[in-house]
């Protein structure tokens, strides 16, 4: 065909809208309820319809996360680091898309949005490095008064529900999600209610980063509606309340007390700063084992 023909076709091309879907158990389902809600940018222009998740979607996500927990927590720390780094690689390739989505969602200029996306990618790399180092920092051998090796090692808590920050739609999301999965937990993320698009797009990156399905499950919808059943769910081991306001956080903390969930209360955070290891240790438990040294008896020696 001639060039001229190509040009007219391009001019008349219909726009292709993206269907944003949930990311649960490595698949991209719509909400079980069939509901959607409208998402608009900071100037109230319509951007997309996204799934309005129900409590049953939350329940399904917990089942998926529990199923994935054994293999993910059992994977070597080195392997988890490789996969987290792979996520950064995949994000780098789709950087332009995220810059656009973050700029729309948060009303930022292109350069400021780009800075946010770069920081988010760097954050994955930062946590990728931590996966096989956190055990040395918070675990180790303990001196005891007896012929025993006494070793403490950090272990993942289990299934963690994460309420992503409402304002920082991408950097904030990555900053709360990456530390949870870096240490071997599996996560159910409730995306920012007003600007969920970067979170839903992140699901597409996670699906192509060798991250086993179910390790991260992304839900969009009304934070209060999804968070309540998650906080009360007996098979969720911890909850990060970063995206809850004070009233909701209190209510969720009460619900979470029922099965002694670990709760990380919302706190003022500057997500552009280097995060430190607090968010990782918040969802780690310490296991300590005693092991005889074998030096008991006649020889009388220690080790």
């Amino acid at each position: 065909m001639s060039d001229k023909n190509d040009k007219t076709e391009r001019a008349e091309r219909l726009s292709v809208f993206k269907t944003y879907k949930l990311y649960v158990g490595g698949k991209f389902p719509r909400s079980e309820s069939g509901r959607v809600y409208e998402v608009s940018d900071s100037k109230d222009n319509w951007l997309a319809n996204v799934p309005l998740s129900s409590r049953k979607d939350a329940r399904d996500a917990v089942v998926a996360a529990r199923k994935a927990f054994g293999a993910w927590s059992g994977a070597t720390a080195y392997n988890r680091g490789q996969i987290l780094y792979r996520i950064a690689e995949m994000l780098e390739g789709r950087r332009e898309q995220y810059v656009r989505e973050v700029a729309d969602a948060e009303g930022l200029s292109k350069s400021k949005a780009a800075a946010q996306v770069d920081a988010a990618i760097d954050r994955w790399v930062w946590y990728a490095g931590w996966t096989d180092k956190i055990a040395q920092v918070v675990g180790g051998g303990n001196p005891v008064a007896g012929p025993f090796f006494n070793l403490s090692s950090p272990e993942p808590t289990g299934v963690v529900a994460v309420l992503a920050p409402q304002e920082s739609s991408f950097l904030g999301l990555v900053s709360v999600l990456a530390p949870v999965i870096a240490t071997g937990n599996t996560a159910i993320v409730v995306a920012s209610e007003k600007s969920p698009l970067p979170a839903l797009s992140l699901g597409e990156v996670l699906a192509t980063s060798d991250l086993p399905g179910g390790v991260v499950n992304v839900l969009s919808g009304r934070t209060a509606e999804i968070a309540k059943p998650l906080a009360a769910h007996q098979d969720v081991n911890a909850i990060d309340l970063a995206g809850a306001d004070d009233v909701l956080a209190k209510e969720l903390e009460i619900a979470a007390a029922d099965n002694l969930k670990r709760v990380l209360r919302p706190q003022p955070v500057d997500y552009t700063e280097t995060p430190g290891i607090d968010r990782m240790t918040a969802f780690l438990e310490t296991k300590t084992v005693w092991h005889p040294t074998g030096s008991l008896g006649a020889s009388g020696s220690s080790y």
């Binding site: 059943p229 009360a232 769910h233 007996q234 098979d235 969720v236 029922d258």
Partner: protein, 330 residues
């Protein structure tokens, strides 16, 4: 053998009444074949469509609570592994009697289902409760053994105290068209069960390959005096599906209409969630009718299903989703 003494009773329970409307059918191989091949063919698309549409019923709140308790009371809690130990069977028995130790209002299951050599252990474990002991027999799951061996297997289980015997039919003979052989075998096993044990006949629907065959097998089993017809062993790829269970429910309904004899149905294998179980209960109610909504006439052969039922029961009671930490690990 004690079975010899009780065999006349078995005749009058199983053999004679089933014959009164269909006496001639089992007179010879050719009459039996003519009857079974004369059964109307199954509309496969219609059957699956009907099963699927009944599966869309929404059962909520009090109806759901009723359905869950009913389903729990219908479970044949099963362990059929080469690695079964007496300890595992005892644990299973304890679970069958009190499925949820934290909530004593939970109904007991219908039965525990074990291999013949574990019957005595299971019997002890459920002593003093309403829970029955079912035993698979007749060279389960393949059924490839001589009739004498199969009958010895059955008598062994009955002597050990089994209340129910789950036998497998000879699928090889059935598929070869040797219907009278299959029939005679079921009659012989029924006789070996005596008056005390109810007989469940397993067709292994996954190996019968067509819906027509499942319908024929159902009628064959019922003619031979089965107390229950059961889909499968749980040992092959395709087990109980809503469609083949619906087909068998239609067969027991029609059989009662013709002969006045009620036969139970037991889907087994592959039913793992409460949602699935409730779908089966809807099938029972809509096809066979309320008379079958009782654990004397309908059972689920399952092991992991019970935990899901218990979790759903806890969810209904507390409003919170439960998790696998709050039910036993089998």
């Amino acid at each position: 053998m004690p079975t010899n003494a009780s065999s006349p009773a078995a005749e009058s329970v199983g053999g004679t009444p089933s014959a009164h409307a269909l006496t001639d059918v089992t007179a010879s191989d050719s009459t039996l074949r003519r009857f079974l091949h004369g059964l109307p063919g199954v509309d496969a698309v219609g059957l699956e469509g009907r099963a699927a549409s009944l599966g869309t019923r929404s059962i909520k709140t009090t109806a759901k609570a009723y359905a869950i308790d009913l389903a729990i009371s219908m479970v044949d809690l099963t362990t059929l592994e080469g690695a079964d130990t007496p300890g595992k069977v005892r644990a299973l028995g304890a679970k069958a009697v009190h499925p949820d130790p934290t909530d004593r209002t939970t109904p007991a299951t219908a039965a525990v289902c074990v291999y013949p050599d574990m019957v005595a252990t299971a019997k002890q474990a459920v002593a003093g409760s309403t829970v029955k002991v079912a035993s698979v027999a007749t060279a389960f799951p393949a059924g490839r053994a001589a009739l004498a061996v199969k009958l010895a297997d059955v008598r062994d289980a009955v002597a050990a105290g089994a209340d129910e015997i789950d036998m497998v039919i000879d699928r090889g003979a059935f598929l070869a068209g040797n219907y009278l052989k299959v029939y005679d075998e079921i009659v012989a096993v029924k006789e070996a069960c005596g008056a005390s044990a109810r007989l469940k006949v397993i067709f292994e629907t996954g190996e019968l390959s067509t819906y027509d065959n499942i319908r024929r097998a159902s009628w064959l089993g019922m003619l031979a005096g089965a107390d229950f017809i059961k889909t499968s062993t749980g040992k092959v790829a395709v087990n109980a599906t809503p469609a083949n269970t619906l087909l068998m429910l239609e067969a027991v309904r029609d059989f009662r209409t013709q002969t006045g004899i009620q036969v139970g149905v037991k889907p087994a294998g592959g039913i793992r969630t409460t949602k699935d179980a409730i779908k089966f209960l809807v099938l029972v109610n809509e096809t066979a009718g309320e008379d079958w909504l009782d654990n004397h006439w309908f059972r689920f052969g399952a092991s992991s299903l019970l935990n899901d039922l218990l979790m759903q029961r806890q969810k209904l009671a507390t409003g919170r989703y439960s998790g696998p930490d709050y039910v036993t690990v089998d």
